[in-house]
Symmetry: C2
Subunit: 313 residues, 2 copies
Amino acid sequence: MAPIRIAVIGVGKIARDEHLPSIARDSRFELAALVSGSGAQAPGVPTFRDAAELYAALPDLDAVAICTPPSARPALVREAIDAGVDVLMEKPPTPTVGELRDLAAHAGAAGRVLFTTWHSQYNAAVEALRDRLAGRTLKRLAITWKEDVRRWHPNQDWIWETAGFGVFDPGINALSILTRVLPEPAFVRSARLLTPSNRAMPIAAEIAFTSRALADGGEMTAVFDWRQTGDQTWEIAADLADGTALRLTGGGTTLAVDGVTVEDAPRHEYDRIYARFAGLVASRDSHIDTAPFELVADAFLVGRREDVEPFED
Amino acid sequence: MAPIRIAVIGVGKIARDEHLPSIARDSRFELAALVSGSGAQAPGVPTFRDAAELYAALPDLDAVAICTPPSARPALVREAIDAGVDVLMEKPPTPTVGELRDLAAHAGAAGRVLFTTWHSQYNAAVEALRDRLAGRTLKRLAITWKEDVRRWHPNQDWIWETAGFGVFDPGINALSILTRVLPEPAFVRSARLLTPSNRAMPIAAEIAFTSRALADGGEMTAVFDWRQTGDQTWEIAADLADGTALRLTGGGTTLAVDGVTVEDAPRHEYDRIYARFAGLVASRDSHIDTAPFELVADAFLVGRREDVEPFED
């Protein structure tokens, strides 16, 4: 089969660190072009200033990966669908849940493949945890997602604005694992949104959930914090009603059961994302998972904002 | 046909003002019982302390109308579905959008009718506005929803808490009209959420929307304010690209076109809601409209909170 000719739209950190290397490693894809307002380059392919130039110049393009910040994506996805190409979207997909539903409907009507990626779901240890939670009852589940915003998002002002989601940008990774592994859905009961007095979006959050997966008196919580320096923590601790202690660490790469590591695979999320996308393009199926995003919207809906000290990059 | 034997769960202001009178006026329904923690009474029917007593005592009950505050509803709706009755829900339906989707799935799996009511949609002038917007492009749409919280929600502390939604409790009425009448969906672009420093939920809000229903350079906005004394304002002004001025006033009861009233029906929302529910019960169809609630969640997701002066009832 001929490779899928794909262009990357928006060439920032995530495109350079993950998308371009994964595309280069996967023989089912052929990088056809970049679209970059700042003129980013890749060897052997053209760079276009905007997507309209891309579609005009490459009529045989098959797909695009949209790696811009979320605020630009609704228009770019619609333009891609209307240009007749399939679309892979970085997370979080859109500024609002409503726009994601609208794009899903448009892709469906146009017969294009739309794939909302949530990269943290694509680790073997996440699937192993899912298997071990199937049909089980939980006494406790605690998400701890603490990282240094200056290290991961240096001078990315957009991330503090509307549609940047603040600490929910990494937090949604944890929620995308939660929605993948739980045997019953979780709902937000309450949330504290700790927001720097000079920013629109929170730098830290504490969420309490309800779920039928919990035993009576059980607790499900998440703590997101961008003020962590030194060691970074991306962990989900799940204690089953029968006493089994499950620990997913390293952002979803390692699973331990009662202190014994049972799965510890190197991080290869984006390779698996592109493998999945190749399959979806071949079968002409979309995969549009709104659940992690809906949890974020519900956390803002029920959350209480609390002012914390100003944040300067 | 035998009347639908219905019980009202939660007998507060909205049940006494609207649900009980509409049920009494409609021969397709027969009031069978009340469920009231505070012991509210209606002539000729029993009052139960909780829903479990209701279902145990009246095995031939057909339906319930759930008129409690939203926080109690997810458990009550699930209990009703599991007891084998059909369910009408007051607005806003649940504390979170996730819980509404979950109830929709549960009702579907159980074969029960679930009806999410948005009462402001049920006025003749709303349908007249919808007809006049079909296929049209808008230059401007402005929602103005200003009322006195002390008059409509006296000492209802729950309305200022999580799942009370603050000024979005009336605001969602306007949004339920918006989602009903627009020819293309609207998305929240930005929002200011003016929140009393001693309350969790906003007392006023300003929202800007995008929509493909707007002409280039067109504007769609909403202003909700609970601090209005004297005259109350519930208006939607829509200016078409061709210059036609449409004005929906009185919360959806009156429509004027270029200054001439074309529809002015007395308010009879709840009679129409119960007529619709009778039809759904007969045809075994659910009607679950999540669109107004999703706009509210998106407004909180992208909104900026701003502190305003404390509010005391």
